[in-house]
Assembly symmetry: C2
Homo-oligomer: 418 residues x 2
């Protein structure tokens, strides 16, 4: 089936979901979770074929991400049940006004319609994304990476059995069958068939979508996150936050990539930074962080001289660009010029600096005296998330269920004319 | 100055507005209104040149839209003062959670940054759009129609004097100097320089933006609005609403273009419709409505046979496409297939039909027993508006000040790590 045919089937199936109540949607999600478990053998067999085909062609890290086990499938089923337990965003009245002419105008949260998601090779994204879209009231068309195609296909077949078990159309969750670039392009340009396109992946995918998409889309993910250590910082707190932001999980988008230090404390702070991130970690048998230093930092501690691109790179690795600035304003200006608008932190005990940073830094999440690693749907109390938006339109930061919906105005009258 | 240079200057000027409080923004707006009046002679002189150049090249209706008078300039100044009187959306805390780890997470309404607006030849849009963008905390780059260039340029110079009078940079409101297609294209593709692009104009402009824009944008305007007269309609109410929706101002996007009538009442209702919209109006010396009838309607009353495109056309004229359907569900399905997602109305006394219509019709505004003509920022109680969004992402329906803002998360901690 062509990608366009799949989208048309999703759109045709959507009204059944649009008129489903919360109980039916939750029953569908629970049935989908049950079917994931029931179809475990099929899913593992498909995954084994994916793994065989991928061996030697992708890195061990990627192979591990691709691998499914009975435990991981159970985790995916639990993830779906968690979405069922979240409250339903659809149907809520966001605001209500009664006008002098007697019209009652309700701004009501409603489903998007058809949500398309382009993602890479982690099979669990298939069930996570489908569950979130379904709970948000939308049909879902998934386009995964080709290395995981057989796994994703088996997962989607199981999810479809769950939908059918409660009387909903299987076409509410579909996998694009074409894994070439053409299908991604088809999704990006299917005006009138895709209400929202979400790319989840690396900078290349995000750029391709920004350049080519004609349907509404939300950019996710890329994070060049900054931490600024102010002259008035609690330096012990700063070291804890920086080590956490840089090393607790360097491969994720909310990890720190750039450290800016106020010039008046750089002489005191940078040697402690090196002791903690480089020598201290090595002594403990942990991966030391490679420090890429601007000219001023390099006069204070040893490290790699920073190259042209080091303050504009999402390393996703044990690498940290380090620069010295003369003021909080200079740090804010540096962030404005180099950030991807994801997450930035300031460490300071000076309320004026904290206020200026909170007001002026134009990113999805601004942290005062805490780690950038908290930018996450779970940590924000949203339950699950579909990704982290780095754009300003519609959704910013972690996208939970509400961010996957839209609204419409329902206006009740008794013959009013204008 | 090139369009890109203008955008860069707007972005450089924005931080001064980002840190301005409500009082300063309102003072700027009042000074802008005062300067419009003070510069009236310059504006009228520029407008006279525009009118001379346009005479014979555009229709009389367009010429009238282009014409400024002292009264119209006073009206523009009043419009700016009305925006000053609206409450400031920026800085509001939309939601606040305190997490178990002690983090306080505030979702805070903030300005977009740089808003670009592409519009056509009405000079008053220049001041309206600038005032709304400024109050919403954003710098504003305007690209008007070439027929109104001298007028818009004089208006922008006056507005800039107002900004400077309160110490804000003039570059917060700028007019694109290039009136060729190139400048529109520059705005659509200036990634990183435009936070939001709003096209205000006809279907051709909207389509060009949808096809070509790489920056975030909101589609406005096109409205193929439907009214459905149910079997359980109060037919007298239906006639009042249809006459209002079709004829009170046929050239606007919230005017009715298509009427659907339930087959069980078509024999009774359509002759009354013709008597009211055609013969009755002619007898009163009002413009009669041309009815374009589908095959079933044409068996009941006289009129023009509907052509292939008549149920997919925004007439913006005294023309109404009329079709007969067999049920509310069929009306809902017709609307799903032919609507532009703007405004649709149902006339019925049956609560089940009203509920089904409200739930299933996927448009920005759904009207139960009232006219589609109410889709308007003022009528919805939003104060002024920047246009009517027909997309689902970010803003839907009338866009007031809130819809011109975004939000960010400000997270306060005391050393928390993850």
């Amino acid at each position: 089936m062509t990608t366009i045919d799949i989208l048309k089937k999703a759109r045709a199936a959507w009204p059944a979901l649009q008129s489903a109540n919360t109980e039916l949607k939750n029953a569908a999600l629970c049935a989908m979770a049950d079917q994931l478990i029931a179809c475990r053998a099929d899913i593992l067999a498909a995954n084994a074929l994916d793994l065989d085909a991928a061996k030697g062609r992708i890195s061990d890290v990627m192979l591990d991400r691709l691998r499914l086990t009975p435990e991981r499938i159970a985790g995916m089923a639990d993830g779906i049940r968690e979405v069922a337990a979240l409250s339903d965003p659809v149907g809520a009245v966001i605001s209500r006004v009664e006008r002098p002419n007697g019209l009652v105008i309700e701004r009501t949260r409603v489903a998007m319609g058809v949500i398309a998601i382009i993602y890479e090779s982690r099979p669990n994204v298939t069930s996570d994304a489908a569950a979130l879209a379904l709970k948000a009231g939308s049909a879902c068309v998934l386009r995964g990476g080709k290395e995981a195609f057989r796994s994703a296909d088996a997962i989607v077949r199981a999810l479809q059995k769950g939908l059918e078990a409660v009387g909903l159309p299987a076409e509410l969750v579909q996998l694009v069958q074409d894994t070439t670039r053409q299908s991604a392009n088809d999704l990006m340009t299917a005006m009138g068939l895709v209400d929202l396109l979400i790319p989840r992946g690396g900078a290349g995918l995000i750029r391709a979508v920004t350049e080519n998409a004609k349907v509404p889309c939300i950019q996710t993910g890329t994070g060049i996150c900054h931490v600024y250590v102010d002259v008035a910082a609690d330096q012990a707190m700063a070291l804890d936050i920086i080590e956490n932001a840089k090393t607790s999980r360097p491969s994720v988008c909310n990890a720190e990539e750039v450290l800016l230090v106020h010039g008046a404390v750089a002489d005191a702070f940078l040697p402690k930074l090196k002791a903690r991130l480089v020598d201290g970690r090595a002594a403990k048998g942990l991966t030391p962080v490679e420090l890429r230093l601007d000219a001023r930092a390099a006069r204070i501690i040893d490290g790699t001289p920073a190259g042209d691109r080091d303050f504009d790179t999402e390393f996703l690795d044990y690498i940290l660009a380090v620069g010295v600035v003369d003021s909080a304003d200079q740090a804010i200006a540096h962030i404005a010029a180099h950030s991807t608008g994801h997450s930035e932190a300031v460490i300071s005990e000076d309320p004026a600096v904290l206020d200026a940073f909170a007001r002026s830094v134009d990113s999805a999440a601004v942290y005062l005296n805490c780690s950038t690693r908290f930018t996450d749907g779970g940590e924000f109390g949203l339950g699950c998330e579909m990704g982290i938006s780095t754009q300003k339109l519609h959704a910013r930061g972690p996208m939970g269920l509400e961010e996957l919906t839209t609204y419409k105005y329902v206006v009740r009258g008794h013959g009013q004319v204008r």
